[in-house]
């Protein structure tokens, strides 16, 4: 039995401790509660669901499913299409990453070398980053058209007969990689430019005193070493974007011909939303997720190191 006295005392205590927290506690939770709910409902819940789905044989539309352990993953690893998609994605990244990074670096160095037309060049190179990829992929499709396309017209003008770039097994992935470089170049350029601006002038002055005053000397002994961290960052970022390639593939080749341009994310889309094999698609998603998480963690590690530098 509680006495009225004890009861009153309890209420006073509660009031005091609430006052001590000075409302910050309550307001804090009030402020984060919508985000917290959505975080659980739209991010972590679904992420857990993907892992769960990947262990079942569920197909969209059916009301029953069974847990089948790692059978989806086993099926995935014995599926030649999956390996083809994984290899293609790696090949795509192996072309796009060095292409984008090198071109982006060269363009950034040249743009910053002197002020002439700087604004124009920066805007021109950045334009593809802003443009809607699905529309521009359609445009690229017409440029790569075997007869009326700009590419083969240009090659024809110098006496080379071009191929049907997007319908040829040997060139489809290459053509998509070219489009990937086209879109990523401006972004890499901008990141390099901000890296260049952070190089302190004293380093150039010091290098000049030591006799390194030629353009190439400055580049070799000051600029490039100082750009090291930014370069690593751009490499990882471009690699991540390469693994996310989807729009151009969907619009132009749909993975064809004969899976020559099939990539991971497009495979994921096709299995899950064209064939509605959710379990299998989820297993593919888990693999995809693992790759992206690995790349993002590397990127975060690099960013952290860069912060410690400065």
């Amino acid at each position: 039995m509680k006495t009225p006295d004890q009861d009153r005392q309890r209420r006073v205590d509660a009031k005091a401790s609430f006052a001590k927290r000075s409302g910050e506690h309550g307001v804090g939770w009030l402020a984060v509660s919508p985000a917290l709910l959505l975080l659980v409902g739209l991010l972590f819940g679904p992420a857990a669901a993907v892992v769960l789905f990947s262990l079942t044989d569920w197909q969209l539309g059916s009301f029953t499913f069974h847990f089948i352990g790692v059978a989806n993953f086993r099926a995935l690893f014995t599926d030649p299409t999956f390996w083809k998609a994984l290899t293609n994605t790696l090949v795509y990244a192996a072309i796009v990453v060095p292409g984008t990074v090198l071109l982006g670096l060269v363009v950034a160095l040249l743009i910053e070398a002197s002020p002439g037309l700087r604004g124009f060049y920066r805007a021109a190179h950045f334009l593809p980053v802003m443009s809607t990829m699905s529309a521009m992929a359609i445009v690229w499709g017409t440029m790569l058209h075997p007869t009326i396309g700009l590419v083969n017209r240009g090659l024809g003008a110098v006496g080379i007969s071009g191929v049907n770039w997007l319908r040829d097994e040997r060139t489809a992935l290459l053509a998509l990689a070219l489009i990937g470089i086209w879109q990523g170049l401006g972004f890499a350029m901008v990141l390099f430019v901000s890296g260049l601006k952070a190089v302190p002038q004293q380093l150039y002055d010091a290098a000049a005193i030591d006799g390194a005053d030629g353009v190439l000397d400055r580049l070799r002994f000051v600029t490039l070493p100082m750009l090291g961290p930014v370069t690593m960052f751009v490499v990882i970022l471009t690699a991540k974007r390469s693994f996310e390639v989807f729009d151009s593939v969907r619009v132009l080749t749909q993975g064809g011909p004969n899976y020559a341009s099939e990539v991971l994310l497009h495979r994921l889309y096709t299995e899950s939303f064209d064939f509605l094999r959710m379990g299998y698609g989820a297993a593919l998603t888990v693999i995809y997720l693992a790759i992206i998480v690995l790349l993002t963690l590397t990127q975060a590690r690099l960013l952290e190191r860069r912060v410690h530098y400065s």
Binding site: G28, L36, S131, T132
Partner: protein, 280 residues
Amino acid sequence: MIARFPYRRFAGRIARHAILILTAAFALLPFVWMVSLSLKPPEEIFQADFHLWPTAFHGVENYRVALTAAPMFRFLLNGLLVCTAIFALQLLVCIPCAYALAKLRFRGRDTLFSAVLVGLLLPPQALAIPHFVLLNVFGLLDTYAALILPWVISTFGIFLLRQFFRSIPDEIIHAARLDGLGEFEIIWRIMIPMTTPALAAFGIFSIVAHWNDLFWPLIAVRSAEISTPALGILLFRDDEAGQFLGPLMAGAVIIVAPLLVAFLIAQRRFIDGLAVTTMK
């Protein structure tokens, strides 16, 4: 050395322009080609010799077909509506959360912030299946809600805004509290006005991403009436009128133009908004 060989410096400048014009041409060519084709009649597109400017101007007809055969303006309006709704809701969710994480002390704060960091790792494409199933359960597929809801929570937005809010001195907030302002008034009257550039950067990032997104609309939406621009141009291509290259290119110009015009007007903001936010 440079003073002794002025011609070297001159040659260097020429080389700089030569290379940059080449790479700029690579970047710009698709846009030039797109506009050029959008002004041409079919027979001129297919003829053997190529002129940049059409000999017979067919631009009016091409753009008229693009605008009447497909609901192009509708796509643009949908894009505007969806992007605005996403960004507004993101702000509504992110700002209070970011403020609390940056400036308030409450139990579980660090845990929540770790959760936000973990959320940053998840690529949205990996959540497509459960999001699709969830929307299907609630009968929301093929509606505006399907295009908007999965994006309402942005861990990136929370993280970014928290970083900016932290840079605002605590003294300002203490002073505001002494003046009798509540926490939400502080957010509204102090934090938001003081971090407008950061909010603008996040806005540009968010709007560009969702205007250009194809992956999710392709999954969530079937009907043309609620298609966003990136999906709309695909529907137009697969349509009968889209088989003609002139109107198709005109359609592409209409879809791509709004963002590019906005970019050309506010270049610095866009470049900073997209580049600097990735490095935060």
